[in-house]
């Protein structure tokens, strides 16, 4: 839950104001691509895709059921409309997104590729391999948003690995890095509209977020990386979020 609530504002901004997509034609060759590289935020993505019209919201009632497709991580594109890559193992989404961005260049398609990464995911070497190739190739149609909630599974992300200064790292790797409050919708939309950079650099938006955002007893409490809320906690969380019971 914590990981979903920290990125759901970013997903909302992307799906409702940025991505050029048609839910009725999810495989259109010219569509923008989005990859949830932090695959453990899939429950948030499933909600956003349903709200955006990729499938009926009622399908979400099968969440977690045996034989279904909705669970902890996104299934493959062949198994759910709107999914571009099956993630869950960290450090895969950005390289795959880079491949899609390069494919757009090769095929003379003007689409953009977006990916949301977690700060903990930046532990993975493959993220930095992709960062260097994207910069070398000046892949200007690639934009990542890092959900920088300052936590990873077992501790503070700046303590487990030397993550700071995160924006400077991306700048040093040749990216146009921009920092923003990841829960300020106006600010988020403003920085997303700054992509693509005019000088050809790929874009890295470092979105400062709060794990469990919007639910008082979840905010910045890393127990909610794994915890499942009780029935009472669900009611309380819905009240705080203004969601009908």
């Amino acid at each position: 839950m914590g990981s979903c609530l920290s990125c759901v504002d970013i997903l909302t901004a992307l799906y409702f104001a940025v991505l050029r997509i048609d839910p009725a034609n999810p495989r259109d060759a010219t569509r923008d691509r989005f990859i949830l590289s932090k695959g453990h935020g899939a429950p948030a993505l499933f909600q956003v895709l349903a709200k955006r019209g990729f499938y009926p919201e009622s399908m979400l009632d099968t969440y977690g059921q045996d034989g279904g497709v909705f669970a902890e991580h996104p299934p493959t594109p062949d198994h759910l409309a709107g999914i571009e890559a099956a993630t869950g193992s960290l450090g895969h989404g950005l390289p795959m997104g880079l491949g899609m961005a390069l494919a757009g260049r090769i095929q003379h398609q003007a689409y953009n590729v977006y990916a949301v990464l977690s700060d903990g995911e930046c532990n993975e070497g493959s993220v930095w391999e992709a960062a260097m190739l994207a910069a070398a190739q000046r892949v200007s149609n690639l934009c990542i948003v890092i959900d920088f909630n300052k936590w990873q599974a077992t501790g503070r992300s700046r303590e487990v690995m030397a993550l700071d200064p995160l924006a400077d790292k991306w700048r040093a790797f040749g990216w146009n890095a921009i920092e923003v409050d990841g829960h300020d919708m106006t600010a988020l939309l403003n920085v997303l509209q700054q992509h693509p950079a005019k000088d050809g650099r790929p874009t890295a938006i470092i979105a400062h977020t709060i794990k469990g955002k919007g639910v008082s007893f979840m905010e910045d409490d890393n127990n909610w990386h794994y915890r499942i809320p009780t029935a009472d906690e669900v009611i309380k969380a819905k009240q705080e979020l203004g969601v009908p019971a």
Binding site: A86, G99, A103, G125
Partner: protein, 307 residues
């Protein structure tokens, strides 16, 4: 084989605008002709194989036909999880080519040996695993891989491998090619060890033993139709590969034999469960591990005498 690979890739790029070549910082100059066809379809991905495999999968999911090329350990064991998740789980038509396979780079030490690649890639759902025996089979394997709807792994040698087939054979993925017919023993060979296997067949012939020599250029899917028919005809089946005895062609045939309850005896030639700590040429390494025509002939003859 390297030159045949570069030449065939150039031809494929000319024929098909979806073909893209990704190299892990090797093949300087080797791909100049490919680049001359379309520089935008060649990517030197640097010494960063995990990313290279993910990039290839992303391209394949976008309608391209990427071919990933570097030295075998680095395009297989180094980035196994990217092959598993990005290519296989997504059923992305990525062609993975490992060069200098087996003991081709014996003198470079075990970091550059690949004696596990077929074993681990064979475990992945949907992956095709190929080991062509000569440049002609490699070209045909590449052409065939372009028509597959999922990932294909092709392990090749380095340079100077002799032509085995006098004319281009009819190569189908998963269908073994009989190079020489025989009646006593079937010598099933995967990859560039084939010249030793043919020489072993010659030695056996001189001793009055008729050996069938077969190129098992595909170890997955395995040609079980051939195995079923051959095991009824011959008295002994032998597998030969420049690969570990665990998990390669020999294991694949043994798995089939157990499941099919085939009675024909099986002997396997390959490398043992160890790293090679001394330096040496490919010939030295082959001899050390019994992958020579003489040793194959001796062991086959001994095994036949017990049937």
């Amino acid at each position: 084989m390297r030159n045949a690979f570069a030449d065939e890739m150039t031809k494929l790029a000319q024929q098909d605008s979806r073909v893209v070549l990704l190299s892990g910082d090797i093949g300087n100059k080797l791909f100049d002709k490919f680049k001359a066809v379309d520089e935008r379809r060649f990517y030197n991905c640097g010494v960063a194989e995990a990313n290279m495999m993910g990039v290839a999968a992303g391209m394949a999911l976008s309608g391209l036909r990427p071919v990933v090329y570097t030295i075998t350990p680095f395009t297989t064991t180094r980035c196994f999880e990217q092959i598993r998740v990005d290519a296989c789980y997504h059923k992305a038509p990525v062609v993975i080519v490992g060069t200098g396979s087996g003991l081709s780079y014996a003198e470079l030490g075990p970091t550059h040996h690949s004696l596990e690649d077929m074993a681990i890639l064979r475990t992945l759902p949907g992956m095709r695993v190929m080991a062509p025996c000569d440049p002609a089979e490699l070209r045909l394997a590449l052409q065939a891989a372009m028509h597959e709807d999922g990932p294909v792994y092709i392990r090749i040698g380095k340079k100077g491998e002799p032509a085995i087939h006098p004319q281009a054979p009819n190569l189908k993925i998963g269908k073994a090619i009989v190079v020489r017919e025989g009646t006593d023993v079937a010598l099933l060979s995967a990859g560039t060890i084939m010249p030793e296997v043919l020489k072993a067949a010659d030695l056996l012939k001189a001793q009055g033993i008729s050996a069938e020599v077969v190129s098992f250029h595909t170890i997955k899917p395995l040609d079980v139709a051939y195995l079923a028919a051959a095991s009824k005809r011959v008295k002994l089946v032998a597998t030969i590969e420049e690969h570990g005895l665990i998990g390669g062609l020999g294991s694949a045939v043994a798995e089939w034999r157990a499941a099919a309850n085939a009675a024909t005896p099986l002997i396997c030639f390959g490398t043992p469960d160890e790293f090679m700590h001394e330096v040496g040429s490919q010939e030295y390494a082959r001899a050390k591990y019994g992958l020579t025509s003489e040793n194959i002939a001796v062991r086959v003859r001994a095994a036949l005498s017990k049937t």
